[in-house]
């Protein structure tokens, strides 16, 4: 990595550190001697464990990022927010109905949405958070499911919302309703499950299980490829 001569100064929870300029916030914190217990997960932008807020030098703006996806900048002031308090409503998915008022029934606080768009600005995934909260408020399950799909549940939107909504819980409910009740089960999957149950493939597989390696490998190497 690095041209280690090229260093920048950052402030981790206020503490001044000199770190190589091309590190992500996560690696910069490790470079400075931290071993994460909380605040690190997949390290690749897929889990939302490393939610972080920062201010840049000379800017009043409080910005959010995933520590594993953001490169440090000179003068950056950084605080990790590895956890955001929230109470997920519990429900029995089989008892739900995909109806317009389902969201309001379980998360009535979405009616408090001010449409200020702060959640959207806070999202490190650039998701249109406010739009999906508003879709939920209108009862548009499909739209709420699709717009929220890339959500990692990092919690930054919930920490910034002036109406104290926890948007990612709304998105989760929307996606489950969309898949289970609107898209519904897939016919050819159900059909194949039935065939497996009836033992339709048992004889074929049993035969292969008993084959010697040479016969099996001949069968493998000459198998028909249908991937176009």
């Amino acid at each position: 990595m690095s041209d280690s001569n090229h260093m920048v100064t950052i402030y981790m929870m206020g503490k001044k550190q000199r770190v190589p300029a091309d590190l992500t916030i996560m690696k910069a914190m490790e470079y400075a001697g931290h071993q994460f217990r909380r605040g690190a997960g997949c390290r690749g932008g897929f889990c939302g464990a490393c939610a972080t807020v920062y201010r840049k030098k000379g800017s009043y703006k409080l910005q959010g990022a995933l520590a594993c996806q953001k490169i440090v900048e000179d003068g950056m002031i950084i605080a990790q927010i590895p956890f955001s308090p929230q109470e997920k409503v519990t429900y029995k998915i089989n008892d739900l109905k995909a109806e317009a008022n389902t969201f309001l029934e379980y998360y009535p606080e979405i009616a408090r949405c001010l449409a200020c768009n702060t959640c959207t600005k806070a999202c490190p995934q650039d998701i249109m958070v406010m739009d999906y909260v508003q879709a939920a408020l209108r009862g548009d399950i499909t739209q709420a499911a699709k717009l929220s799909f890339d959500c990692l549940g990092c919690g930054l939107c919930a920490m910034r919302c002036p109406a104290e909504i926890v948007p990612y819980n709304i998105g989760q409910l929307a996606r489950r309703l969309e898949s289970k009740y609107i898209e519904g089960p897939t016919e050819h999957v159900l059909k194949r499950c039935q065939e497996v149950k009836e033992g339709k493939f048992d004889a074929d597989i049993e035969e292969m299980k008993k084959m010697d390696k040479a016969t099996l490998s001949k069968k493998y190497n000459t198998r028909e490829m249908k991937i176009k």
């Binding site: 690095s2 997960g41 390290r43 897929f46 519990t90 890339d150 519904g184």
Partner: protein, 551 residues
Amino acid sequence: MSDYTSSYPEYMQDSIRKVADKRASNLSSHGINAMTAEERQSILERFHPDWKPNMKRPIAIGPSKGMMVPNEVADIIEAHPVIKPSDIDLNHVDYDVDILIIGAGGAGLSAALLAQENGISVDQILMVQKLRLGDANSKMSQGGIQAADSPVDSPSIHYLDVIGGGHYANKPDLAEALVKDAPDVIRWHEELGVMYDKNPDGSMLEIAGGGTSRRRMHSCKDYTGLEITRVLVDEFINRGISNIEFTSAVDFIMDDKHQVAGAVLFDMETEEYHVAKAKSTVLATGGFGRLHIQGFATTNHYGATGDGIVMAYRTGAVLRDLDSTQYHPTGAAYPEQIVGQLATEKLRGRGALPVNKYGDLFVYHLEPRDIESSSYIRECYERNNGIVTPTGMRAVWLDTPMIEIVTGPGTIEREFAAMFRNFKKFGIDIRKEPILVFPTLHYQNGGVEINPNTETNIPGLFCAGEVCGGVHGKNRLMGNSQLDLYVFGRRAGKNAAERAKKVSVGKLTLAHLNRYERWLAEAGIKTDRKSPILLPEYRGKKTLEHKLNIL
């Protein structure tokens, strides 16, 4: 986006132009043929990291003594337990449950849900995990999950792909369970509310993967693991199953009937030990990517430190197939911040072809992973046709702009939201420019041996997911680990529940740890290593280390 400026260094621009110039002809050519069985064997032996001399050694102790494993794996096996039996008061039981589940990825979550469905009450199931609920490699899976549910496919064809891809080393019963349960796993997911990608007619959108003879990869954009995991987590919370985050198991507890009977837990935050007693214990701790075998960068989650194989081995559980390790062909090689991270195989499934620095094709793009990886290493190190990155890594191009030429504009943002976003954050638009890739440490092919009921040779110990060996033989195919989690996780939950209804636990003991110390002493192993290591070490200058030394 005509105003797009390349973020690649100037010295790569000539090569990028060559790739672009040859894009049309590469796409219209018949491409490179798949290799013959002989060619495959030869390229593996010459270029696959598993075949590199001096990188493995036989395990010196225990039931699988003599089995060749990577040195990094032998190091954590040939190490002292973290705890001394005399320091733990087994008379003080903190948690007394029917089922203890260690690990909260796809396999652990599935086991918990199925244990509950099979009659164990939610306060008699305890899940522990050393990070957050749902934090695991499971969540990072991008490309998809295999299941032979289309009319042109069948579980028998899937079986043949699995066995051939695994070099005939798979345990046949496990491969059979994998392919036969697969359609029901997809059904189960949809019933819980997982949003799979569909065709306009409502059927599953299925694509090809390396080594698959049919299109059977189901995906949820390129956030497949994320989508499935978060649904399972949501359901887990809805059902109120007991759970402790930031708490790791460090060794199993056994009883005087030689059964596994729980585990010693370590609170990662308060650093206190706790005793958990259980009638059945499910080990679902995942793999070892964060051991950085041979210095390779890895796609793996922070917690993938191979804890499970160590703990299981100390009870006398048998290991298998740990001599083979999976290197995913397309790890990011540039920019530096994302080196080793995964560029999903789905990119190739949807039409991106690998090319060398001249823009020329050099391998069929959907070989099984070990073959595909070996050919990239050959292209870079024998033929010298790779690009050298600013940090000295060698790499080949994966020509991602081909995807939208083949499947139409908008495909990348729609189907590859994660890839598009994650590369864009570091300045690269994968619609406009190819990406640099090189094999990256991806998967632990082997592990603890199980049977189709997920039982090990030690009563009371069930295993599911990447910690197990035998399902994938010596090489796993794309989309079969995501499948493996749910197939064997569900079986573990069900079988652990059945056992818990029948057995009783005897007097608790940690005598097996004293036995392990004797094994170490008898083998003449003098070391201050301790395991499980729980977290990888990246502090200080270690942050900057990439000591990859290929040939």
